[in-house]
Symmetry: C2
Subunit: 306 residues, 2 copies
Amino acid sequence: EYSKYKRYFTPLPTLPPIPADNPLTPEKVKLGKMLYYDPRLSRSKIISCNTCHNIALGGDDNVKTSIGHGWKTGGRNAPTTLNSGFLKVQFWDGRAPTLEEQTKGPIQAHVEMNATPELVVRRLKAIPEYVELFKKAFPNDPDPVNFENVAKAIAAFERTLNTPNSPFQRYLLGEENALTKEQKEGMKLFVEKGCIACHNGPVLSDGRFHKFKSNNDTGRFRVTKNPKDKYLFRTPQLLNVALTAPYFHDGSAKTLEEAIRHMAEQELGQKLSMEEVRKIKAFLESLTGEIPLEARTVPILPPERQ
Amino acid sequence: EYSKYKRYFTPLPTLPPIPADNPLTPEKVKLGKMLYYDPRLSRSKIISCNTCHNIALGGDDNVKTSIGHGWKTGGRNAPTTLNSGFLKVQFWDGRAPTLEEQTKGPIQAHVEMNATPELVVRRLKAIPEYVELFKKAFPNDPDPVNFENVAKAIAAFERTLNTPNSPFQRYLLGEENALTKEQKEGMKLFVEKGCIACHNGPVLSDGRFHKFKSNNDTGRFRVTKNPKDKYLFRTPQLLNVALTAPYFHDGSAKTLEEAIRHMAEQELGQKLSMEEVRKIKAFLESLTGEIPLEARTVPILPPERQ
Ligand code: HEC
Ligand code: HEC
Ligand code: HEC
Ligand code: HEC
Ligand SMILES: [Ca+2]
Ligand SMILES: [Ca+2]
Ligand SMILES: [Ca+2]
Ligand SMILES: [Mg+2]
């Protein structure tokens, strides 16, 4: 009696869409992984993508709002990089259309890595192994160590940071017992209450903007300056959401229960019973997948030439 | 004609000495690895052992003096954790006799992780998977989630963080061509010039204290308050030294050449030729080993119970 709900959901494909101008190759993914883990992409040399999007923690940093260069914060919660290739737009306010564009943001943001394209390229050029790896990843580029290619390589790696084999994924693919009864009840509620209206597609995000007022952060309006966009935020994905507390763009919800209850009230004008919250939570917990071992293997980063 | 120098050196054993009160078990190593990578051992939740002793970077942080909680620094350079189980005493000033004692330092240091034993234990007890893992690692302990056991588990993991198969190790074990001629020349100079007097044993440290005045840091004197100990520092290991620039307790030498030249002058009262420096450097580069894949595989850390 639950199977009729399956059609509202989309199993996670093996790979997200790959842009024509950044084909996925093993050489690029290898380089991208190294850059993702390399703190020398930051001015201080101590902050990497993995600092805030820690693979050990579910691709995020577990804190309310991220802390970056100089112990400063930008006031927003770090979403997970896992499965981020499936998002239609990047950032809470959707200000980057692609992962390539996205990546250039944190490297330069004063409250994150606080570097410049020139600094990053200069550092990488001083490391012979990196020069070699850029040549291999971008064989047709006469001067491959450049900021565009840094972004392309990291984006390529991120497109492999996907988490298959979650209980829910296995259920969708036919393994009837992969979900508990409680989780199936949660799935049903997720559809019937209307969560599915915004949280849909392979990562449970429509990639669109919806009103969510929490503090002075005006969200999408900051990007478009269009008054109609005030307090609009892009629907976040829900895969691995059990690993990415706290919740919302400002990390204001400490627990998944709190986030679910709040969503029902703010987005659907409903009050859920404790039991309903519990069931939806159990369902969301079934969205935790497996990080491929390859992405979890720390690269050995080359030292600077001396 | 180089083989007569081999007897001055000791190949790296598979494991360092294991203290009787902290036997090495797979369960403990597994737990220790998780704790090593877990930033929730710090007050801010964003700094782990791996932040400053980054496995991707050679077990250190590549910066002059480490940056910790609140973007503060303690003014000392972070040595590598790789092969640290072979050191006779821990820290530049030898203030910890064992890895177990050592570990309690950074977790509590205000400029490092700035936590307290109570905070750490409270956080770990709130995570059911950790409670289970502590039970497995310390099966005879009625209340296994305690600060002593945190230290024991991390120390156990560190004792597996060894780097076999360096070219020099292979050379010592009989693979004649594992070293270049230049590296063999460097080995010879390392013995003949007298570096071996202090840099000896399996990790090329005698574990003793020697005068090295660089700034106001009085080294061993800070620990003993004995005026004879002013400006004494424990000889650091040299395994993987090509990965751990900058050098010395204050990170004052940017390159390996600089460190070698400085050592010869300060410790041996000699001036080396450019060629001699080059050869010794080549020899030291042959000390870079292989980090076991197991230690390089990022653990999946459990979320807090919500
Ligand atoms: C200091 C912390 C910090 C660092 C370092 C950092 N990020 Fe982020 N990241 C964030 C925060 C906070 C956001 C959300 C910002 C926003 O939406 O305005 C974010 C957003 C993202 C997103 C968008 C995900 C989504 O769901 O919209 C991706 C992808 C991402 N970061 C990847 C990276 C990569 C790649 C790097 C390294 C080049 C990096 N980040 C470095 C904190 C950080
Ligand atoms: C009208 C669109 C819409 C509906 C309906 C909706 N959501 Fe959301 N959801 C969002 C948006 C937008 C956010 C991001 C809010 C923010 O932090 O700015 C969000 C955030 C969340 C989060 C936090 C994710 C994170 O990583 O921080 C959870 C969990 C969640 N929704 C679950 C649900 C559940 C369960 C329901 C149904 C009870 C639901 N949502 C209904 C749009 C919606
Ligand atoms: C904020 C940076 C930082 C953090 C976090 C940190 N360390 Fe260190 N570590 C250092 C510095 C700096 C030293 C040298 C301090 C000294 O000798 O006074 C050091 C010394 C050591 C040593 C001694 C090595 C030697 O050659 O004497 C070991 C072992 C070690 N740390 C392990 C750890 C472990 C385990 C953790 C986590 C529980 C940790 N460190 C957390 C910076 C850090
Ligand atoms: C009398 C003892 C002694 C002798 C002889 C000696 N060293 Fe050292 N070495 C030390 C001590 C002590 C330090 C740590 C100094 C400090 O930073 O406080 C050190 C540090 C180093 C370092 C930096 C390691 C690091 O990780 O920062 C290198 C490299 C080094 N020695 C190489 C050599 C070479 C090459 C020689 C011979 C030319 C040599 N040493 C001779 C005691 C000695
Ligand atoms: Ca979050
Ligand atoms: Ca290093
Ligand atoms: Ca160093
Ligand atoms: Mg997390």
